[in-house]
Subunit: 226 residues, 2 copies
């Protein structure tokens, strides 16, 4: 199994028993998850602060960047875009799998899978790579959908920035299962356990301005998430 | 209805039609959501980069900070903690409500609710406020749970940092419903619509080292999320 390349920036300094240096599990998480949280550093009026925004994304494991490529897109007019190109970015993808009720507040926790990718974002300028990345982002939402759509117009392409972040510097943490209590707390007889959580899809909702049947790709996606 | 106090940092520069300056909806989202993504700015070896981590949180609308208080906690040994106290932080809370399949890739979108809070985190040092914040974080996961648990030990308290972020500088964006397509795309007859998504809980799973019945607070929480 391939290994991630953790660095001091992506290696947790605590709870290293939860650090799972396992590229296959990282890619499986990135495949499961539907949104990422993009962090950038903003400099405004001499003050530095982070900004964190939810974004759509897609991964090309065969992408041109070392370790594969994570693609993001946004409006060329978005304020965060310039910031995201001026320093490294952090892209974090988290799936919440459960609430962990221990016998002490201290040992309460969550079951989750979380990937943290840090790197310098590259503004994708090659037309073929841009088109490929935008198709991947649509197909990450609904596999097969991009092939059923018209090509983007010049105006749409001019309004869209595509960023590529290398998957080289990435780490993953996860927690699963029962709480871990102190032996003296187990003896108190307080109930402990966890509440599993998962995301489900409802049936596709057809837009009011069409009378077409739900296509197979959309039906399959809803069923797979269902 | 109270209004948020948006600033240039929390006011979206794009898609302002989606910006919902509505405090009540912001607080409802913070009540619904179970995790936040905390962004901090890290300075390491002369390089500045953001870090974004999933965290548990709770809100005290009557908290001591302007606009109310958002509480976070972490290990005092965590590397991100010092960074989070050195510059402003960004706390982003997102609930994904659906996948929006338009007739063009460009108009594909997500249905979501997302709150962005930017501010200077305060390290909570008052013992009463620390205890209150830690109880709120447990009760945000499972309402009523903290009252059934022993008090934290001195050692646990010494290992736990509690951060307070004012809810003053906060914004919310949301999207719901059908895609918005160009008129010429509607005419093409491609199906459009959305796939609703939601989080559900399974039945509580009792830890292997207890034979107690699932308590009412845990059962109610699972049912409410169910």
């Amino acid at each position: 199994m391939e290994q991630l390349s953790p660095t001091p920036r992506t290696t947790g300094t605590r709870e290293s028993e939860r650090a799972v240096a396992d590229r296959r599990r990282l890619l499986a998480l990135l495949d499961d998850a539907l949104i990422a949280h993009l962090g950038a550093v903003v400099q405004r009026d001499g003050v530095t602060h982070p900004v964190v925004l939810p974004v759509a994304f897609a991964v090309d494991v065969e992408g041109p960047d070392e370790g594969g490529t994570l693609y993001l897109h946004g409006s060329t007019g978005a304020g965060w875009l310039r910031s995201a190109l001026e320093t490294d970015v952090c892209v974090t993808v988290t799936e919440l799998d459960g609430l962990v009720a221990a016998r002490s507040g201290f040992n309460h926790s969550m079951n989750y899978r979380s990937a943290v990718v840090i790197g310098r974002a590259r503004l994708v300028e090659d037309a073929d790579e841009r088109g490929h990345a935008l198709d991947l982002i649509v197909d990450h939402m609904i596999p097969g959908r991009s092939a059923t759509l018209r090509a983007p117009t010049r105006k749409e392409l001019a309004a869209t920035a595509v960023l590529a972040v290398p998957l080289r510097e990435a780490s993953m943490k996860e927690r699963a299962g029962a709480p871990e209590d102190e032996p003296e707390d187990v003896a108190t007889g307080v109930w402990a356990g966890h509440i599993p959580l998962r995301r489900i899809a409802g049936p596709p909702v057809t837009a009011p301005d069409t009378d077409r049947e739900v296509p197979d790709d959309v039906r399959s996606r809803a069923a797979a998430l269902g």
